[in-house]
Symmetry: C2
Subunit: 215 residues, 2 copies
Protein backbone atom coordinates (compact mmCIF):
# COMPACT_ATOMS: atom_id res chain seq x y z
CA UNK A 1 0.00 0.00 0.00
CA UNK A 2 1.30 3.39 -0.95
CA UNK A 3 2.62 5.77 1.61
CA UNK A 4 -0.07 8.24 2.59
CA UNK A 5 0.25 11.74 3.94
CA UNK A 6 -0.82 10.72 7.37
CA UNK A 7 0.85 12.26 10.33
CA UNK A 8 0.85 10.54 13.68
CA UNK A 9 -0.33 13.63 15.47
CA UNK A 10 -3.39 13.99 13.26
CA UNK A 11 -6.75 13.42 14.85
CA UNK A 12 -8.59 10.21 13.93
CA UNK A 13 -11.11 12.10 11.78
CA UNK A 14 -8.35 13.79 9.83
CA UNK A 15 -6.51 10.52 9.38
CA UNK A 16 -9.64 8.83 8.08
CA UNK A 17 -10.44 11.78 5.82
CA UNK A 18 -7.06 11.87 4.14
CA UNK A 19 -6.78 8.13 4.00
CA UNK A 20 -10.01 7.75 2.06
CA UNK A 21 -9.41 10.83 -0.06
CA UNK A 22 -5.96 9.65 -1.07
CA UNK A 23 -7.34 6.25 -1.94
CA UNK A 24 -9.86 7.89 -4.25
CA UNK A 25 -7.36 10.29 -5.79
CA UNK A 26 -4.83 7.54 -6.40
CA UNK A 27 -7.46 5.53 -8.20
CA UNK A 28 -7.24 2.71 -5.69
CA UNK A 29 -10.89 3.26 -4.86
CA UNK A 30 -12.88 3.60 -8.05
CA UNK A 31 -16.28 5.27 -8.55
CA UNK A 32 -19.09 3.08 -7.36
CA UNK A 33 -16.95 1.03 -5.00
CA UNK A 34 -18.33 0.68 -1.53
CA UNK A 35 -16.48 2.20 1.38
CA UNK A 36 -17.26 0.00 4.36
CA UNK A 37 -16.92 1.90 7.60
CA UNK A 38 -15.79 -0.95 9.75
CA UNK A 39 -13.03 -2.25 7.50
CA UNK A 40 -11.53 1.23 7.25
CA UNK A 41 -11.75 1.79 10.96
CA UNK A 42 -9.94 -1.46 11.62
CA UNK A 43 -7.34 -0.61 8.99
CA UNK A 44 -6.60 2.69 10.68
CA UNK A 45 -6.81 1.31 14.18
CA UNK A 46 -9.62 3.62 15.18
CA UNK A 47 -13.33 3.25 15.84
CA UNK A 48 -16.07 3.63 13.26
CA UNK A 49 -17.15 7.00 14.60
CA UNK A 50 -14.41 9.20 13.15
CA UNK A 51 -14.59 7.28 9.89
CA UNK A 52 -18.27 8.02 9.71
CA UNK A 53 -17.50 11.64 10.34
CA UNK A 54 -14.89 11.75 7.61
CA UNK A 55 -17.30 10.13 5.18
CA UNK A 56 -19.86 12.85 5.82
CA UNK A 57 -17.24 15.46 5.07
CA UNK A 58 -16.29 13.68 1.87
CA UNK A 59 -19.95 13.55 0.96
CA UNK A 60 -20.03 17.33 1.20
CA UNK A 61 -17.00 17.43 -1.08
CA UNK A 62 -18.85 15.32 -3.61
CA UNK A 63 -16.27 12.56 -3.29
CA UNK A 64 -18.54 9.91 -1.82
CA UNK A 65 -22.25 9.22 -1.82
CA UNK A 66 -24.01 8.15 1.34
CA UNK A 67 -27.35 6.39 1.28
CA UNK A 68 -29.21 5.89 4.53
CA UNK A 69 -28.77 2.43 5.95
CA UNK A 70 -26.73 1.44 2.93
CA UNK A 71 -23.49 3.16 3.65
CA UNK A 72 -21.03 5.06 1.54
CA UNK A 73 -19.57 4.47 -1.89
CA UNK A 74 -17.20 6.46 -4.03
CA UNK A 75 -19.26 9.03 -5.89
CA UNK A 76 -20.12 7.97 -9.39
CA UNK A 77 -21.08 10.50 -12.01
CA UNK A 78 -22.78 9.85 -15.31
CA UNK A 79 -21.22 11.32 -18.42
CA UNK A 80 -23.90 14.03 -18.34
CA UNK A 81 -22.92 14.88 -14.79
CA UNK A 82 -19.24 14.91 -15.68
CA UNK A 83 -20.05 17.44 -18.38
CA UNK A 84 -22.00 19.43 -15.82
CA UNK A 85 -19.07 19.48 -13.44
CA UNK A 86 -16.72 20.58 -16.20
CA UNK A 87 -19.08 23.41 -17.13
CA UNK A 88 -19.18 24.57 -13.52
CA UNK A 89 -15.42 24.36 -13.22
CA UNK A 90 -15.14 26.37 -16.42
CA UNK A 91 -17.19 29.32 -15.21
CA UNK A 92 -15.76 29.30 -11.69
CA UNK A 93 -12.12 29.04 -12.65
CA UNK A 94 -12.67 31.59 -15.36
CA UNK A 95 -14.14 33.91 -12.74
CA UNK A 96 -11.20 33.22 -10.43
CA UNK A 97 -8.73 34.01 -13.19
CA UNK A 98 -10.48 37.27 -13.99
CA UNK A 99 -10.39 38.31 -10.36
CA UNK A 100 -6.80 37.16 -10.00
CA UNK A 101 -5.26 38.96 -12.95
CA UNK A 102 -5.48 42.58 -11.77
CA UNK A 103 -3.77 41.71 -8.50
CA UNK A 104 -1.11 39.35 -9.76
CA UNK A 105 2.46 40.35 -9.00
CA UNK A 106 5.40 39.79 -11.33
CA UNK A 107 6.56 37.04 -9.00
CA UNK A 108 3.23 35.27 -9.25
CA UNK A 109 3.24 35.46 -13.01
CA UNK A 110 6.70 33.97 -13.23
CA UNK A 111 5.68 31.28 -10.75
CA UNK A 112 2.82 30.42 -13.09
CA UNK A 113 5.25 30.21 -15.95
CA UNK A 114 7.43 27.94 -13.89
CA UNK A 115 4.49 25.64 -13.18
CA UNK A 116 3.76 25.51 -16.88
CA UNK A 117 7.36 24.66 -17.60
CA UNK A 118 7.30 21.90 -14.99
CA UNK A 119 4.11 20.53 -16.54
CA UNK A 120 5.72 20.18 -19.93
CA UNK A 121 8.81 18.75 -18.32
CA UNK A 122 7.00 15.72 -16.91
CA UNK A 123 4.65 15.21 -19.82
CA UNK A 124 5.85 11.63 -20.21
CA UNK A 125 4.89 10.52 -16.72
CA UNK A 126 1.11 10.50 -16.56
CA UNK A 127 0.72 10.66 -12.80
CA UNK A 128 3.27 13.43 -12.47
CA UNK A 129 1.70 15.33 -15.34
CA UNK A 130 -1.77 15.17 -13.82
CA UNK A 131 -0.36 16.45 -10.56
CA UNK A 132 1.55 19.26 -12.28
CA UNK A 133 -1.51 20.15 -14.33
CA UNK A 134 -3.54 20.35 -11.17
CA UNK A 135 -0.91 22.57 -9.62
CA UNK A 136 -1.03 24.94 -12.58
CA UNK A 137 -4.79 25.43 -12.45
CA UNK A 138 -4.80 25.48 -8.68
CA UNK A 139 -2.21 28.20 -8.65
CA UNK A 140 -3.96 30.42 -11.15
CA UNK A 141 -7.19 30.00 -9.21
CA UNK A 142 -5.43 30.58 -5.90
CA UNK A 143 -4.05 33.90 -7.16
CA UNK A 144 -7.58 35.22 -6.93
CA UNK A 145 -7.07 35.06 -3.15
CA UNK A 146 -10.78 34.20 -2.80
CA UNK A 147 -10.97 31.34 -0.29
CA UNK A 148 -14.47 30.13 -1.12
CA UNK A 149 -13.94 30.26 -4.84
CA UNK A 150 -10.72 28.33 -4.42
CA UNK A 151 -12.46 25.75 -2.28
CA UNK A 152 -15.28 25.22 -4.74
CA UNK A 153 -12.89 24.84 -7.66
CA UNK A 154 -10.87 22.29 -5.77
CA UNK A 155 -13.99 20.34 -4.96
CA UNK A 156 -15.03 20.22 -8.57
CA UNK A 157 -11.59 19.20 -9.73
CA UNK A 158 -11.60 16.48 -7.11
CA UNK A 159 -14.92 15.15 -8.36
CA UNK A 160 -13.51 14.91 -11.88
CA UNK A 161 -10.24 13.29 -10.96
CA UNK A 162 -11.31 9.64 -11.29
CA UNK A 163 -12.72 10.31 -14.74
CA UNK A 164 -9.83 12.36 -16.03
CA UNK A 165 -7.40 9.69 -14.98
CA UNK A 166 -8.78 7.25 -17.52
CA UNK A 167 -9.27 10.06 -20.00
CA UNK A 168 -5.67 11.15 -19.92
CA UNK A 169 -4.49 7.57 -19.88
CA UNK A 170 -6.03 7.02 -23.28
CA UNK A 171 -5.30 10.42 -24.67
CA UNK A 172 -2.23 11.12 -26.75
CA UNK A 173 -2.80 14.83 -26.84
CA UNK A 174 -0.75 15.92 -23.89
CA UNK A 175 1.50 18.10 -26.03
CA UNK A 176 -1.45 19.85 -27.61
CA UNK A 177 -2.91 20.73 -24.24
CA UNK A 178 0.57 21.91 -23.37
CA UNK A 179 0.23 24.54 -26.07
CA UNK A 180 -3.23 25.32 -24.76
CA UNK A 181 -1.76 26.22 -21.43
CA UNK A 182 0.88 28.35 -23.06
CA UNK A 183 -1.89 30.50 -24.50
CA UNK A 184 -3.28 30.96 -21.00
CA UNK A 185 0.08 32.13 -19.75
CA UNK A 186 0.19 34.55 -22.66
CA UNK A 187 -3.26 35.88 -21.81
CA UNK A 188 -2.15 36.46 -18.24
CA UNK A 189 0.85 38.45 -19.46
CA UNK A 190 -1.39 40.42 -21.82
CA UNK A 191 -3.30 41.63 -18.77
CA UNK A 192 -6.89 41.76 -20.00
CA UNK A 193 -9.13 40.20 -17.34
CA UNK A 194 -12.22 39.83 -19.53
CA UNK A 195 -10.21 38.13 -22.23
CA UNK A 196 -8.51 35.82 -19.74
CA UNK A 197 -11.89 34.87 -18.32
CA UNK A 198 -13.14 33.87 -21.76
CA UNK A 199 -9.98 31.93 -22.53
CA UNK A 200 -9.94 30.01 -19.25
CA UNK A 201 -13.58 29.15 -19.63
CA UNK A 202 -13.07 27.92 -23.16
CA UNK A 203 -9.98 26.00 -22.14
CA UNK A 204 -11.67 24.13 -19.33
CA UNK A 205 -14.84 23.69 -21.32
CA UNK A 206 -12.84 22.12 -24.09
CA UNK A 207 -12.58 18.98 -22.01
CA UNK A 208 -16.26 18.43 -22.62
CA UNK A 209 -15.65 17.70 -26.28
CA UNK A 210 -12.60 15.56 -25.68
CA UNK A 211 -14.38 13.50 -23.04
CA UNK A 212 -17.43 13.20 -25.27
CA UNK A 213 -15.26 11.65 -27.96
CA UNK A 214 -14.20 8.94 -25.54
CA UNK A 215 -17.69 8.04 -24.35
Amino acid sequence: MTQRFINNKMSPVERAYHYILDAILSGELEPGMRVPTEALAENLGISRMPVRDALRQLEGDGAVTIIANRGASVAQYSSEEVVEIIEMRAVLEALAARLALPRMSATEISELEHLHWRMQNVSQDLTAWISAHDDFHNYLTACSKRPLLIQQSQRLRLMLRPYFRSYYAESKELEITGLEHQSLVDAVKAGDPEDLERKVRAHVRQNVETIAKLA
Copy 2:
Protein backbone atom coordinates in the same frame (compact mmCIF):
# COMPACT_ATOMS: atom_id res chain seq x y z
CA MET B 1 -41.07 28.01 18.84
CA THR B 2 -42.14 27.95 15.24
CA GLN B 3 -43.51 24.85 13.65
CA ARG B 4 -40.84 23.06 11.70
CA PHE B 5 -41.08 20.71 8.78
CA ILE B 6 -40.26 17.73 10.88
CA ASN B 7 -42.05 14.51 10.25
CA ASN B 8 -42.29 11.88 12.93
CA LYS B 9 -41.11 9.15 10.65
CA MET B 10 -37.92 10.98 9.80
CA SER B 11 -34.68 9.53 11.05
CA PRO B 12 -32.93 11.35 13.88
CA VAL B 13 -30.21 12.67 11.55
CA GLU B 14 -32.80 14.08 9.17
CA ARG B 15 -34.72 15.64 12.01
CA ALA B 16 -31.61 17.28 13.37
CA TYR B 17 -30.56 18.45 9.91
CA HIS B 18 -33.83 20.14 9.10
CA TYR B 19 -34.25 21.49 12.59
CA ILE B 20 -30.94 23.31 12.49
CA LEU B 21 -31.30 24.37 8.88
CA ASP B 22 -34.73 25.84 9.48
CA ALA B 23 -33.45 27.69 12.50
CA ILE B 24 -30.74 29.25 10.35
CA LEU B 25 -33.05 30.05 7.45
CA SER B 26 -35.64 31.61 9.72
CA GLY B 27 -33.01 33.85 11.23
CA GLU B 28 -33.48 32.36 14.66
CA LEU B 29 -29.87 31.25 14.60
CA GLU B 30 -27.68 34.10 13.38
CA PRO B 31 -24.21 33.89 11.85
CA GLY B 32 -21.55 33.37 14.47
CA MET B 33 -23.90 31.87 17.03
CA ARG B 34 -22.73 28.65 18.55
CA VAL B 35 -24.66 25.48 17.92
CA PRO B 36 -24.12 23.34 20.99
CA THR B 37 -24.57 19.68 20.20
CA GLU B 38 -25.93 18.62 23.55
CA ALA B 39 -28.62 21.27 23.86
CA LEU B 40 -29.97 20.44 20.43
CA ALA B 41 -29.94 16.74 21.10
CA GLU B 42 -31.90 17.25 24.26
CA ASN B 43 -34.31 19.55 22.47
CA LEU B 44 -35.02 16.93 19.86
CA GLY B 45 -35.07 14.06 22.29
CA ILE B 46 -32.22 12.24 20.58
CA SER B 47 -28.58 11.61 21.34
CA ARG B 48 -25.69 13.81 20.31
CA MET B 49 -24.54 11.41 17.60
CA PRO B 50 -27.12 12.18 14.91
CA VAL B 51 -26.82 15.89 15.69
CA ARG B 52 -23.10 15.64 15.14
CA ASP B 53 -23.77 13.93 11.86
CA ALA B 54 -26.22 16.59 10.76
CA LEU B 55 -23.75 19.31 11.65
CA ARG B 56 -21.12 17.74 9.44
CA GLN B 57 -23.58 17.72 6.57
CA LEU B 58 -24.42 21.34 7.17
CA GLU B 59 -20.73 22.12 7.21
CA GLY B 60 -20.51 20.69 3.72
CA ASP B 61 -23.39 22.94 2.72
CA GLY B 62 -21.50 25.94 4.04
CA ALA B 63 -24.21 26.62 6.61
CA VAL B 64 -22.13 25.97 9.72
CA THR B 65 -18.45 26.05 10.56
CA ILE B 66 -16.92 23.33 12.68
CA ILE B 67 -13.65 23.84 14.47
CA ALA B 68 -11.97 20.87 16.11
CA ASN B 69 -12.65 20.67 19.83
CA ARG B 70 -14.56 23.91 19.66
CA GLY B 71 -17.75 22.74 18.06
CA ALA B 72 -20.04 24.23 15.48
CA SER B 73 -21.31 27.73 14.89
CA VAL B 74 -23.49 29.21 12.20
CA ALA B 75 -21.22 30.07 9.30
CA GLN B 76 -20.20 33.69 9.27
CA TYR B 77 -18.96 35.33 6.13
CA SER B 78 -17.08 38.58 5.84
CA SER B 79 -18.41 41.13 3.38
CA GLU B 80 -15.62 40.08 1.01
CA GLU B 81 -16.79 36.50 1.23
CA VAL B 82 -20.40 37.50 0.69
CA VAL B 83 -19.32 39.25 -2.49
CA GLU B 84 -17.44 36.11 -3.45
CA ILE B 85 -20.51 33.96 -2.97
CA ILE B 86 -22.64 36.34 -5.01
CA GLU B 87 -20.09 36.25 -7.83
CA MET B 88 -20.17 32.46 -7.81
CA ARG B 89 -23.93 32.40 -7.75
CA ALA B 90 -23.94 34.83 -10.64
CA VAL B 91 -21.84 32.68 -12.97
CA LEU B 92 -23.48 29.41 -11.94
CA GLU B 93 -27.08 30.57 -12.23
CA ALA B 94 -26.24 32.33 -15.46
CA LEU B 95 -24.84 29.07 -16.76
CA ALA B 96 -27.93 27.21 -15.58
CA ALA B 97 -30.20 29.69 -17.31
CA ARG B 98 -28.27 29.38 -20.55
CA LEU B 99 -28.51 25.61 -20.44
CA ALA B 100 -32.17 25.77 -19.45
CA LEU B 101 -33.44 28.10 -22.15
CA PRO B 102 -33.15 25.87 -25.23
CA ARG B 103 -35.07 23.09 -23.51
CA MET B 104 -37.74 25.14 -21.81
CA SER B 105 -41.29 24.28 -22.75
CA ALA B 106 -44.11 26.79 -23.10
CA THR B 107 -45.55 25.45 -19.85
CA GLU B 108 -42.30 26.08 -18.04
CA ILE B 109 -42.07 29.60 -19.37
CA SER B 110 -45.58 30.44 -18.23
CA GLU B 111 -44.82 28.86 -14.87
CA LEU B 112 -41.86 31.19 -14.58
CA GLU B 113 -44.14 34.12 -15.40
CA HIS B 114 -46.53 32.94 -12.73
CA LEU B 115 -43.74 32.83 -10.17
CA HIS B 116 -42.78 36.36 -11.12
CA TRP B 117 -46.36 37.48 -10.72
CA ARG B 118 -46.56 35.82 -7.32
CA MET B 119 -43.37 37.57 -6.28
CA GLN B 120 -44.81 40.99 -7.09
CA ASN B 121 -48.04 40.04 -5.43
CA VAL B 122 -46.46 39.54 -2.01
CA SER B 123 -43.94 42.38 -2.25
CA GLN B 124 -45.27 43.88 0.97
CA ASP B 125 -44.59 40.85 3.15
CA LEU B 126 -40.84 40.54 3.44
CA THR B 127 -40.67 36.89 4.44
CA ALA B 128 -43.12 35.84 1.75
CA TRP B 129 -41.30 37.92 -0.84
CA ILE B 130 -37.93 36.36 -0.01
CA SER B 131 -39.49 32.95 -0.31
CA ALA B 132 -41.15 33.80 -3.64
CA HIS B 133 -37.94 35.36 -4.91
CA ASP B 134 -36.10 32.19 -4.01
CA ASP B 135 -38.71 30.15 -5.83
CA PHE B 136 -38.31 32.23 -8.96
CA HIS B 137 -34.56 31.80 -9.16
CA ASN B 138 -34.77 28.21 -8.06
CA TYR B 139 -37.22 27.45 -10.80
CA LEU B 140 -35.23 29.07 -13.56
CA THR B 141 -32.15 27.22 -12.38
CA ALA B 142 -34.07 23.97 -12.03
CA CYS B 143 -35.22 24.21 -15.65
CA SER B 144 -31.66 23.42 -16.63
CA LYS B 145 -32.38 19.91 -15.34
CA ARG B 146 -28.77 19.68 -14.20
CA PRO B 147 -28.85 18.17 -10.71
CA LEU B 148 -25.36 19.16 -9.59
CA LEU B 149 -25.67 22.69 -10.88
CA ILE B 150 -28.98 23.03 -9.10
CA GLN B 151 -27.50 21.71 -5.88
CA GLN B 152 -24.55 24.09 -5.98
CA SER B 153 -26.78 27.09 -6.64
CA GLN B 154 -29.02 26.16 -3.77
CA ARG B 155 -26.05 25.86 -1.47
CA LEU B 156 -24.79 29.28 -2.41
CA ARG B 157 -28.21 30.86 -2.01
CA LEU B 158 -28.47 29.21 1.38
CA MET B 159 -25.14 30.66 2.46
CA LEU B 160 -26.34 34.13 1.52
CA ARG B 161 -29.73 33.91 3.13
CA PRO B 162 -28.82 35.32 6.57
CA TYR B 163 -27.16 38.32 4.96
CA PHE B 164 -29.87 39.03 2.45
CA ARG B 165 -32.47 38.95 5.17
CA SER B 166 -31.04 42.04 6.81
CA TYR B 167 -30.29 43.54 3.42
CA TYR B 168 -33.83 43.28 2.18
CA ALA B 169 -35.17 44.37 5.53
CA GLU B 170 -33.42 47.72 5.15
CA SER B 171 -33.92 48.06 1.45
CA LYS B 172 -36.82 49.93 -0.03
CA GLU B 173 -36.10 48.83 -3.55
CA LEU B 174 -38.30 45.79 -3.81
CA GLU B 175 -40.26 47.29 -6.67
CA ILE B 176 -37.15 48.09 -8.64
CA THR B 177 -35.90 44.54 -8.35
CA GLY B 178 -39.38 43.53 -9.45
CA LEU B 179 -38.75 45.26 -12.76
CA GLU B 180 -35.36 43.62 -12.88
CA HIS B 181 -36.98 40.23 -12.82
CA GLN B 182 -39.43 41.25 -15.52
CA SER B 183 -36.48 41.84 -17.83
CA LEU B 184 -35.29 38.32 -17.11
CA VAL B 185 -38.66 36.91 -18.05
CA ASP B 186 -38.49 38.95 -21.25
CA ALA B 187 -35.04 37.58 -22.04
CA VAL B 188 -36.35 34.06 -21.58
CA LYS B 189 -39.14 34.75 -24.01
CA ALA B 190 -36.69 36.28 -26.47
CA GLY B 191 -34.93 32.92 -26.57
CA ASP B 192 -31.26 33.89 -26.88
CA PRO B 193 -29.26 31.72 -24.44
CA GLU B 194 -26.07 33.78 -24.56
CA ASP B 195 -27.98 36.96 -23.89
CA LEU B 196 -29.94 35.37 -21.06
CA GLU B 197 -26.70 34.17 -19.51
CA ARG B 198 -25.28 37.69 -19.55
CA LYS B 199 -28.48 39.17 -18.11
CA VAL B 200 -28.79 36.64 -15.28
CA ARG B 201 -25.17 37.10 -14.37
CA ALA B 202 -25.53 40.86 -14.32
CA HIS B 203 -28.76 40.61 -12.36
CA VAL B 204 -27.31 38.44 -9.62
CA ARG B 205 -24.05 40.32 -9.61
CA GLN B 206 -25.95 43.55 -9.10
CA ASN B 207 -26.48 42.53 -5.49
CA VAL B 208 -22.78 43.12 -4.94
CA GLU B 209 -23.20 46.85 -5.42
CA THR B 210 -26.37 47.07 -3.38
CA ILE B 211 -24.85 45.12 -0.51
CA ALA B 212 -21.68 47.18 -0.70
CA LYS B 213 -23.74 50.34 -0.19
CA LEU B 214 -25.07 48.92 3.06
CA ALA B 215 -21.70 47.91 4.52
